[in-house]
């Protein structure tokens, strides 16, 4: 196993750990997991079958250090946005209903 340390912009919890794991796994094929401790994480890579390149390690560290959990979470809609979305859905339903009536 090869381990490198990353300094994070957030505190690691079970939830943010999972989000960070997915982000690093997306850029580093050798990445097998991480250990979080407050605002730092030890990124762990498999180097038994093949060794991760320095570029891969750098990309993994950068992805971890740039990552902010807020980016990964689905933002909650405001009341206006929700109403606009509802209106859009209603419009689509009306259009479909018109097509169905035309065909029947």
């Amino acid at each position: 196993m090869r381990e490198i340390k990353a300094i994070l912009r957030f505190e690691v919890t079970a939830e943010t750990h999972k989000l960070l794991h997915d982000v690093v796994a997306a850029v580093a094929p050798h990445f097998v997991g991480l250990r979080g401790d407050g605002h730092s994480a030890m990124l762990v890579f498999d180097n038994e079958r093949s060794k991760p390149s320095n570029e891969e390690l750098d990309a993994a560290r950068e992805a971890a250090e740039q990552f902010q959990p807020e980016q990964a979470r689905q933002p909650e809609l405001s009341k206006e946005q929700a109403l606009a979305k509802l209106e859009d859905y209603q419009q689509q339903i009306n259009e479909l209903r018109a097509v169905i009536e035309k065909l029947s």
Partner: protein, 188 residues
């Protein structure tokens, strides 16, 4: 010459003090029939060893509350915190009792299971695969785990708590943000 005699006398007078500071077990001699039992022998093999057994055996403990929880999504074992949650003792008897208590959890990832163990010098004391304790997917428990370390060489040894998740990518958490993690070790 006089100076060295004085130095020797001072050092000799301080000898009991140093023995109190660095008291350790001394393997008793095996006297043969007819051997004299001297005051020095009595002090070394009886008095000092009894004092060692009564109140001098090494004990160590840490009760640590950190700034953040300890998490792992790695399937291989590792120390929960090799800097702050460890006990180092000089063991003479070759044996130690190790105890730990903490709050641990496995997340809701499919097949997630958190496992915990105690270790001496990086060698785990529990089951070779699953350690001393395990909790299943999406559960949180307060754990008390204990093990006896035997066959230790005479000298310094470091005791730690280890953790892992059986499924890579699933998350094991040892709560430490507001939750104490306790590790107690005593020579037996």
């Amino acid at each position: 010459m006089y100076f060295f005699i004085r130095l020797w006398r001072v050092a000799r007078n301080l000898f009991p003090f140093w023995r109190l500071l660095f008291m350790a077990w001394t393997t008793p001699n095996s006297p043969s029939s007819g051997d004299d039992w001297t005051a020095t022998m009595y002090r070394t093999y009886i008095r000092d060893n009894l004092n060692y057994l009564f109140s001098g055996r090494p004990i160590g403990q840490v009760h640590y509350v950190g700034a953040g929880d300890k998490t792992s999504s790695v399937a291989t074992w590792a120390d929960v915190d090799s800097t702050n949650i460890k006990v180092t003792l000089t063991i003479s008897s070759g044996r130690a009792r190790v105890f730990a208590s903490f709050r641990g959890a496995a997340d809701n990832t499919a097949s997630s299971a958190a496992e915990f163990d105690l270790a001496v010098d990086g060698t785990r004391l529990g089951d070779s695969t699953h350690g001393l304790a395990r909790t299943s997917q999406n559960t949180t428990h307060f754990f008390s785990i204990e093990a006896l370390a035997t066959g230790l060489s005479v000298g310094s040894h470091t005791f730690t708590i280890r953790f892992r998740n059986v499924t890579g990518g699933a998350v094991t958490t040892v709560s430490n943000n507001g939750f104490p993690v306790n590790l107690v070790v005593e020579e037996i």
